[in-house]
Symmetry: C2
Protein backbone atom coordinates (compact mmCIF):
# COMPACT_ATOMS: atom_id res chain seq x y z
CA UNK A 1 0.00 0.00 0.00
CA UNK A 2 2.16 2.89 1.32
CA UNK A 3 -0.06 5.37 -0.51
CA UNK A 4 0.22 3.75 -3.96
CA UNK A 5 -3.13 3.82 -5.77
CA UNK A 6 -4.35 0.33 -6.63
CA UNK A 7 -4.89 1.09 -10.32
CA UNK A 8 -3.53 3.61 -12.85
CA UNK A 9 -6.13 6.30 -13.74
CA UNK A 10 -7.09 4.70 -17.10
CA UNK A 11 -7.89 1.43 -15.32
CA UNK A 12 -9.91 3.21 -12.61
CA UNK A 13 -11.93 4.89 -15.36
CA UNK A 14 -12.46 1.61 -17.21
CA UNK A 15 -13.62 -0.17 -14.04
CA UNK A 16 -16.00 2.72 -13.30
CA UNK A 17 -17.51 2.65 -16.78
CA UNK A 18 -18.01 -1.12 -16.71
CA UNK A 19 -19.58 -0.80 -13.23
CA UNK A 20 -22.27 1.48 -14.69
CA UNK A 21 -23.58 -1.33 -16.88
CA UNK A 22 -26.65 -3.16 -15.55
CA UNK A 23 -25.84 -6.34 -13.61
CA UNK A 24 -22.08 -5.62 -13.52
CA UNK A 25 -20.77 -5.22 -9.96
CA UNK A 26 -17.37 -3.87 -8.89
CA UNK A 27 -15.75 -7.30 -9.05
CA UNK A 28 -17.08 -8.17 -12.52
CA UNK A 29 -16.08 -4.70 -13.72
CA UNK A 30 -12.50 -5.37 -12.56
CA UNK A 31 -12.47 -8.69 -14.38
CA UNK A 32 -13.76 -7.07 -17.58
CA UNK A 33 -11.21 -4.26 -17.29
CA UNK A 34 -8.36 -6.76 -16.91
CA UNK A 35 -9.70 -8.67 -19.88
CA UNK A 36 -9.58 -5.45 -21.95
CA UNK A 37 -6.01 -4.81 -20.76
CA UNK A 38 -4.80 -8.27 -21.65
CA UNK A 39 -6.69 -8.81 -24.90
CA UNK A 40 -5.26 -7.74 -28.25
CA UNK A 41 -5.83 -4.09 -29.12
CA UNK A 42 -7.97 -4.87 -32.16
CA UNK A 43 -10.37 -6.96 -30.06
CA UNK A 44 -10.73 -4.25 -27.43
CA UNK A 45 -11.19 -1.57 -30.07
CA UNK A 46 -13.79 -3.70 -31.85
CA UNK A 47 -15.99 -3.40 -28.74
CA UNK A 48 -15.34 0.34 -28.44
CA UNK A 49 -16.22 0.86 -32.12
CA UNK A 50 -19.32 -1.35 -31.89
CA UNK A 51 -20.58 0.84 -29.05
CA UNK A 52 -19.78 4.05 -30.92
CA UNK A 53 -21.32 2.85 -34.19
CA UNK A 54 -24.47 1.57 -32.47
CA UNK A 55 -25.06 5.06 -31.04
CA UNK A 56 -24.20 6.62 -34.40
CA UNK A 57 -26.14 4.36 -36.78
CA UNK A 58 -29.25 3.37 -34.88
CA UNK A 59 -32.31 5.53 -34.54
CA UNK A 60 -36.05 5.16 -34.03
CA UNK A 61 -37.94 3.88 -37.09
CA UNK A 62 -39.87 6.77 -38.68
CA UNK A 63 -43.02 4.63 -38.86
CA UNK A 64 -43.12 2.40 -35.77
CA UNK A 65 -40.35 3.78 -33.49
CA UNK A 66 -38.66 0.40 -33.23
CA UNK A 67 -34.84 0.45 -33.49
CA UNK A 68 -33.83 1.05 -37.10
CA UNK A 69 -30.57 1.19 -38.98
CA UNK A 70 -31.65 3.93 -41.37
CA UNK A 71 -35.02 5.66 -41.69
CA UNK A 72 -37.36 2.67 -41.51
CA UNK A 73 -36.88 -0.56 -39.53
CA UNK A 74 -36.52 -4.00 -41.10
CA UNK A 75 -39.99 -5.12 -39.98
CA UNK A 76 -41.74 -2.09 -41.50
CA UNK A 77 -39.78 -2.65 -44.72
CA UNK A 78 -40.80 -6.30 -44.97
CA UNK A 79 -43.76 -6.68 -47.38
CA UNK A 80 -44.26 -10.24 -46.05
CA UNK A 81 -45.63 -8.88 -42.75
CA UNK A 82 -49.39 -8.56 -42.33
CA UNK A 83 -49.85 -4.83 -42.96
CA UNK A 84 -53.27 -4.56 -41.31
CA UNK A 85 -52.30 -5.66 -37.79
CA UNK A 86 -50.51 -3.45 -35.28
CA UNK A 87 -49.01 -4.74 -32.05
CA UNK A 88 -48.36 -1.87 -29.61
CA UNK A 89 -45.44 -2.44 -27.24
CA UNK A 90 -43.57 -0.29 -24.75
CA UNK A 91 -39.97 -0.75 -25.88
CA UNK A 92 -37.86 -2.10 -28.77
CA UNK A 93 -36.73 -5.03 -26.61
CA UNK A 94 -40.38 -6.10 -26.40
CA UNK A 95 -40.41 -6.35 -30.22
CA UNK A 96 -37.42 -8.70 -30.01
CA UNK A 97 -39.16 -10.88 -27.43
CA UNK A 98 -42.29 -11.10 -29.66
CA UNK A 99 -40.19 -11.91 -32.72
CA UNK A 100 -38.35 -14.64 -30.83
CA UNK A 101 -41.68 -16.19 -29.87
CA UNK A 102 -42.55 -16.14 -33.60
CA UNK A 103 -46.28 -16.01 -33.01
CA UNK A 104 -47.03 -12.64 -34.61
CA UNK A 105 -46.71 -11.69 -38.29
CA UNK A 106 -48.03 -8.12 -38.34
CA UNK A 107 -46.41 -4.71 -37.76
CA UNK A 108 -45.50 -3.01 -34.49
CA UNK A 109 -45.82 0.36 -32.86
CA UNK A 110 -43.30 1.11 -30.10
CA UNK A 111 -44.57 3.61 -27.51
CA UNK A 112 -41.05 4.21 -26.19
CA UNK A 113 -42.25 3.89 -22.62
CA UNK A 114 -45.42 3.59 -20.58
CA UNK A 115 -47.67 5.98 -18.69
CA UNK A 116 -46.11 6.60 -15.31
CA UNK A 117 -47.68 9.33 -13.20
CA UNK A 118 -45.00 8.65 -10.55
CA UNK A 119 -42.24 9.57 -13.05
CA UNK A 120 -44.28 12.38 -14.61
CA UNK A 121 -44.68 10.47 -17.91
CA UNK A 122 -48.01 11.32 -19.57
CA UNK A 123 -49.46 10.44 -23.00
CA UNK A 124 -47.53 13.36 -24.57
CA UNK A 125 -44.23 11.62 -23.63
CA UNK A 126 -45.14 8.44 -25.53
CA UNK A 127 -45.64 7.81 -29.24
CA UNK A 128 -49.42 7.71 -28.83
CA UNK A 129 -50.15 10.72 -31.06
CA UNK A 130 -48.10 9.04 -33.79
CA UNK A 131 -50.07 5.79 -33.30
CA UNK A 132 -53.42 7.54 -33.79
CA UNK A 133 -52.13 9.44 -36.82
CA UNK A 134 -50.77 6.23 -38.30
CA UNK A 135 -54.14 4.47 -37.94
CA UNK A 136 -56.06 7.46 -39.36
CA UNK A 137 -53.69 7.80 -42.30
CA UNK A 138 -54.04 4.09 -43.11
CA UNK A 139 -57.84 4.55 -43.09
CA UNK A 140 -57.58 7.61 -45.40
CA UNK A 141 -55.35 5.66 -47.77
CA UNK A 142 -57.85 2.81 -48.03
CA UNK A 143 -55.72 0.16 -46.24
CA UNK A 144 -57.28 0.34 -42.75
CA UNK A 145 -55.77 -1.34 -39.68
CA UNK A 146 -58.04 -4.26 -38.77
CA UNK A 147 -56.75 -4.95 -35.29
CA UNK A 148 -54.56 -3.23 -32.73
CA UNK A 149 -53.08 -5.69 -30.24
CA UNK A 150 -52.20 -3.81 -27.07
CA UNK A 151 -49.14 -5.59 -25.69
CA UNK A 152 -48.02 -3.35 -22.86
CA UNK A 153 -46.26 -5.16 -20.03
CA UNK A 154 -48.25 -6.99 -17.36
CA UNK A 155 -47.60 -4.39 -14.65
CA UNK A 156 -49.80 -1.71 -13.11
CA UNK A 157 -48.26 0.99 -15.33
CA UNK A 158 -48.58 -1.29 -18.34
CA UNK A 159 -52.25 -1.88 -17.48
CA UNK A 160 -52.87 1.86 -17.06
CA UNK A 161 -51.25 2.46 -20.45
CA UNK A 162 -53.35 -0.30 -22.06
CA UNK A 163 -56.59 1.14 -20.63
CA UNK A 164 -55.68 4.61 -21.82
CA UNK A 165 -54.93 3.26 -25.31
CA UNK A 166 -58.21 1.33 -25.47
CA UNK A 167 -59.98 4.61 -24.61
CA UNK A 168 -58.33 6.68 -27.36
CA UNK A 169 -58.58 3.90 -29.97
CA UNK A 170 -62.35 3.33 -29.46
CA UNK A 171 -63.47 6.56 -31.27
CA UNK A 172 -61.41 5.53 -34.34
CA UNK A 173 -63.60 2.46 -34.81
CA UNK A 174 -60.59 0.13 -34.86
CA UNK A 175 -60.82 -3.22 -33.13
CA UNK A 176 -58.41 -3.54 -30.21
CA UNK A 177 -57.42 -6.49 -28.07
CA UNK A 178 -55.04 -7.15 -25.20
CA UNK A 179 -52.65 -10.01 -24.61
CA UNK A 180 -54.05 -12.62 -22.21
CA UNK A 181 -52.66 -12.43 -18.70
CA UNK A 182 -50.94 -15.77 -18.89
CA UNK A 183 -47.86 -13.86 -17.77
CA UNK A 184 -47.13 -13.37 -14.11
CA UNK A 185 -47.53 -9.72 -13.05
CA UNK A 186 -44.28 -7.80 -13.14
CA UNK A 187 -42.57 -10.11 -15.61
CA UNK A 188 -40.45 -8.49 -18.30
CA UNK A 189 -41.22 -9.89 -21.73
CA UNK A 190 -37.62 -10.72 -22.28
CA UNK A 191 -37.52 -12.92 -19.18
CA UNK A 192 -40.66 -14.80 -20.24
CA UNK A 193 -40.34 -18.16 -21.94
CA UNK A 194 -41.25 -17.83 -25.64
CA UNK A 195 -43.97 -20.43 -25.10
CA UNK A 196 -45.73 -18.28 -22.50
CA UNK A 197 -45.71 -15.44 -25.04
CA UNK A 198 -47.33 -17.83 -27.51
CA UNK A 199 -50.12 -18.53 -24.99
CA UNK A 200 -50.50 -14.83 -24.30
CA UNK A 201 -50.93 -14.08 -28.02
CA UNK A 202 -53.42 -16.91 -28.54
CA UNK A 203 -55.50 -16.02 -25.46
CA UNK A 204 -55.80 -12.32 -26.26
CA UNK A 205 -59.25 -10.81 -25.69
Amino acid sequence: MAGTPLYPPSVVRLVEEFSRLPGIGKRSAERLAFHILSTRSENALALALAIRDAKRNLRACRRCFNIAEGEVCAICQNPGRVQTELCVVELPRDVIAMEKAGVYQGLYHVLQGRLSPASGLGPENLRIGELLQRIQQAQTEGRPVREVIIATRPSSEGDTTAEYLAGVLAPLGVESSRLARGLASGTDFDNAAPSSLVYAFRGRR
Copy 2:
Protein backbone atom coordinates in the same frame (compact mmCIF):
# COMPACT_ATOMS: atom_id res chain seq x y z
CA MET B 1 -40.54 -13.84 -38.43
CA ALA B 2 -41.18 -13.96 -42.21
CA GLY B 3 -37.46 -13.59 -42.87
CA THR B 4 -36.94 -10.38 -40.90
CA PRO B 5 -33.63 -10.42 -39.02
CA LEU B 6 -34.12 -10.08 -35.27
CA TYR B 7 -31.67 -7.18 -34.90
CA PRO B 8 -30.26 -4.48 -37.17
CA PRO B 9 -26.59 -5.12 -38.11
CA SER B 10 -25.19 -2.61 -35.58
CA VAL B 11 -27.05 -4.36 -32.77
CA VAL B 12 -25.89 -7.80 -33.94
CA ARG B 13 -22.32 -6.52 -33.88
CA LEU B 14 -22.73 -5.00 -30.42
CA VAL B 15 -24.22 -8.23 -29.01
CA GLU B 16 -21.37 -10.22 -30.57
CA GLU B 17 -18.69 -7.95 -29.10
CA PHE B 18 -20.25 -8.06 -25.63
CA SER B 19 -20.51 -11.88 -25.91
CA ARG B 20 -16.74 -12.08 -26.34
CA LEU B 21 -16.19 -10.69 -22.84
CA PRO B 22 -15.47 -13.31 -20.17
CA GLY B 23 -18.52 -14.38 -18.19
CA ILE B 24 -20.97 -12.63 -20.55
CA GLY B 25 -23.36 -15.05 -22.24
CA LYS B 26 -25.68 -14.33 -25.18
CA ARG B 27 -28.51 -13.19 -22.93
CA SER B 28 -26.36 -10.83 -20.84
CA ALA B 29 -24.83 -9.49 -24.05
CA GLU B 30 -28.32 -8.66 -25.36
CA ARG B 31 -29.17 -6.88 -22.10
CA LEU B 32 -25.95 -4.87 -22.27
CA ALA B 33 -26.56 -4.00 -25.92
CA PHE B 34 -30.07 -2.76 -25.13
CA HIS B 35 -28.69 -0.76 -22.25
CA ILE B 36 -26.24 0.91 -24.65
CA LEU B 37 -29.08 1.62 -27.10
CA SER B 38 -31.31 3.18 -24.47
CA THR B 39 -28.70 5.08 -22.46
CA ARG B 40 -27.68 8.64 -23.32
CA SER B 41 -25.04 8.91 -26.02
CA GLU B 42 -22.46 10.52 -23.72
CA ASN B 43 -22.72 7.61 -21.27
CA ALA B 44 -22.29 5.01 -24.00
CA LEU B 45 -19.41 6.91 -25.55
CA ALA B 46 -17.75 7.27 -22.13
CA LEU B 47 -17.41 3.48 -22.04
CA ALA B 48 -16.15 3.33 -25.64
CA LEU B 49 -13.56 6.02 -24.91
CA ALA B 50 -12.49 4.40 -21.62
CA ILE B 51 -11.76 1.19 -23.54
CA ARG B 52 -9.90 3.03 -26.29
CA ASP B 53 -7.87 5.16 -23.85
CA ALA B 54 -6.98 2.16 -21.68
CA LYS B 55 -5.45 0.45 -24.71
CA ARG B 56 -3.77 3.70 -25.76
CA ASN B 57 -2.38 4.88 -22.42
CA LEU B 58 -1.48 1.71 -20.58
CA ARG B 59 1.67 -0.28 -21.18
CA ALA B 60 4.00 -2.59 -19.29
CA CYS B 61 6.22 -0.86 -16.70
CA ARG B 62 9.78 -0.62 -18.02
CA ARG B 63 11.14 -1.97 -14.72
CA CYS B 64 8.68 -4.54 -13.38
CA PHE B 65 6.23 -5.17 -16.30
CA ASN B 66 3.22 -4.34 -14.14
CA ILE B 67 0.56 -2.17 -15.84
CA ALA B 68 1.78 1.42 -16.06
CA GLU B 69 0.31 4.68 -17.25
CA GLY B 70 3.58 6.02 -18.65
CA GLU B 71 7.07 4.49 -18.60
CA VAL B 72 7.25 3.30 -14.99
CA CYS B 73 4.38 2.03 -12.79
CA ALA B 74 3.18 3.76 -9.63
CA ILE B 75 4.67 1.09 -7.35
CA CYS B 76 8.15 1.33 -8.90
CA GLN B 77 7.91 5.13 -8.61
CA ASN B 78 7.01 5.01 -4.92
CA PRO B 79 10.14 5.60 -2.75
CA GLY B 80 8.14 4.41 0.28
CA ARG B 81 8.29 0.79 -0.98
CA VAL B 82 11.03 -1.51 0.32
CA GLN B 83 13.47 -1.41 -2.61
CA THR B 84 15.36 -4.59 -1.66
CA GLU B 85 12.45 -7.05 -1.87
CA LEU B 86 11.04 -8.41 -5.10
CA CYS B 87 7.79 -10.34 -5.34
CA VAL B 88 7.56 -12.27 -8.62
CA VAL B 89 4.02 -12.78 -9.91
CA GLU B 90 2.52 -14.09 -13.13
CA LEU B 91 0.17 -11.26 -14.10
CA PRO B 92 -0.68 -7.62 -13.26
CA ARG B 93 -3.95 -8.76 -11.66
CA ASP B 94 -1.88 -10.72 -9.15
CA VAL B 95 -0.20 -7.45 -8.13
CA ILE B 96 -3.64 -5.96 -7.46
CA ALA B 97 -4.63 -8.95 -5.31
CA MET B 98 -1.39 -8.63 -3.29
CA GLU B 99 -1.90 -4.89 -2.87
CA LYS B 100 -5.47 -5.41 -1.69
CA ALA B 101 -4.23 -7.85 0.94
CA GLY B 102 -1.83 -5.08 2.05
CA VAL B 103 0.73 -7.52 3.50
CA TYR B 104 3.66 -6.71 1.22
CA GLN B 105 5.61 -3.42 1.00
CA GLY B 106 8.36 -4.26 -1.51
CA LEU B 107 8.56 -4.12 -5.31
CA TYR B 108 7.19 -6.56 -7.88
CA HIS B 109 8.29 -8.32 -11.02
CA VAL B 110 5.53 -9.43 -13.37
CA LEU B 111 6.45 -12.44 -15.51
CA GLN B 112 3.52 -11.82 -17.89
CA GLY B 113 2.58 -15.48 -17.81
CA ARG B 114 3.81 -18.83 -16.54
CA LEU B 115 5.73 -21.74 -18.02
CA SER B 116 3.31 -23.87 -19.98
CA PRO B 117 4.79 -26.65 -22.10
CA ALA B 118 1.25 -27.50 -23.25
CA SER B 119 0.83 -24.00 -24.75
CA GLY B 120 4.42 -23.86 -25.94
CA LEU B 121 5.35 -21.14 -23.44
CA GLY B 122 8.97 -21.45 -22.35
CA PRO B 123 11.24 -19.21 -20.22
CA GLU B 124 11.98 -17.04 -23.29
CA ASN B 125 8.30 -16.06 -23.46
CA LEU B 126 8.31 -14.72 -19.89
CA ARG B 127 10.10 -11.73 -18.35
CA ILE B 128 12.65 -14.03 -16.67
CA GLY B 129 15.70 -12.65 -18.50
CA GLU B 130 14.65 -9.17 -17.38
CA LEU B 131 14.29 -10.41 -13.78
CA LEU B 132 17.83 -11.79 -13.70
CA GLN B 133 19.20 -8.63 -15.31
CA ARG B 134 17.36 -6.49 -12.80
CA ILE B 135 18.82 -8.43 -9.87
CA GLN B 136 22.32 -8.36 -11.31
CA GLN B 137 22.14 -4.66 -12.06
CA ALA B 138 21.01 -3.91 -8.50
CA GLN B 139 24.00 -5.90 -7.22
CA THR B 140 26.37 -3.97 -9.49
CA GLU B 141 24.90 -0.68 -8.31
CA GLY B 142 25.47 -1.59 -4.65
CA ARG B 143 21.78 -1.89 -3.66
CA PRO B 144 21.35 -5.68 -3.85
CA VAL B 145 18.00 -7.45 -3.70
CA ARG B 146 17.82 -9.20 -0.31
CA GLU B 147 14.89 -11.49 -1.02
CA VAL B 148 12.91 -12.66 -4.04
CA ILE B 149 9.47 -13.92 -3.07
CA ILE B 150 8.25 -16.30 -5.76
CA ALA B 151 4.49 -15.83 -5.85
CA THR B 152 3.40 -17.79 -8.90
CA ARG B 153 -0.10 -19.22 -8.68
CA PRO B 154 -0.76 -22.44 -6.75
CA SER B 155 -1.26 -24.58 -9.86
CA SER B 156 0.94 -27.16 -11.54
CA GLU B 157 2.16 -24.64 -14.12
CA GLY B 158 2.71 -22.09 -11.35
CA ASP B 159 4.71 -24.66 -9.39
CA THR B 160 6.80 -25.56 -12.45
CA THR B 161 7.49 -21.87 -13.00
CA ALA B 162 8.47 -21.40 -9.34
CA GLU B 163 10.86 -24.36 -9.44
CA TYR B 164 12.43 -23.06 -12.63
CA LEU B 165 12.87 -19.61 -11.07
CA ALA B 166 14.44 -21.04 -7.89
CA GLY B 167 16.91 -22.86 -10.13
CA VAL B 168 17.98 -19.78 -12.10
CA LEU B 169 18.06 -17.52 -9.03
CA ALA B 170 20.32 -19.83 -6.96
CA PRO B 171 23.56 -19.05 -8.88
CA LEU B 172 22.98 -15.31 -8.28
CA GLY B 173 23.30 -15.85 -4.54
CA VAL B 174 20.00 -14.11 -3.85
CA GLU B 175 17.71 -15.52 -1.17
CA SER B 176 14.41 -16.75 -2.57
CA SER B 177 11.24 -17.94 -0.87
CA ARG B 178 7.84 -19.17 -1.96
CA LEU B 179 4.42 -18.29 -0.64
CA ALA B 180 3.04 -20.92 1.75
CA ARG B 181 0.46 -23.24 0.27
CA GLY B 182 -2.34 -22.01 2.45
CA LEU B 183 -4.17 -21.52 -0.82
CA ALA B 184 -6.18 -24.32 -2.36
CA SER B 185 -4.62 -25.63 -5.58
CA GLY B 186 -6.06 -23.98 -8.68
CA THR B 187 -7.30 -20.86 -6.91
CA ASP B 188 -6.81 -17.56 -8.70
CA PHE B 189 -5.33 -14.93 -6.44
CA ASP B 190 -8.12 -12.55 -7.20
CA ASN B 191 -10.72 -15.05 -5.98
CA ALA B 192 -8.83 -15.68 -2.74
CA ALA B 193 -9.91 -13.89 0.43
CA PRO B 194 -7.34 -11.19 1.31
CA SER B 195 -6.86 -12.89 4.69
CA SER B 196 -5.72 -16.12 3.04
CA LEU B 197 -3.17 -14.10 1.08
CA VAL B 198 -1.99 -12.64 4.42
CA TYR B 199 -1.45 -16.19 5.75
CA ALA B 200 0.30 -17.21 2.55
CA PHE B 201 2.71 -14.27 2.86
CA ARG B 202 3.43 -14.93 6.54
CA GLY B 203 3.95 -18.66 6.08
CA ARG B 204 6.32 -18.34 3.14
CA ARG B 205 9.32 -20.67 3.22
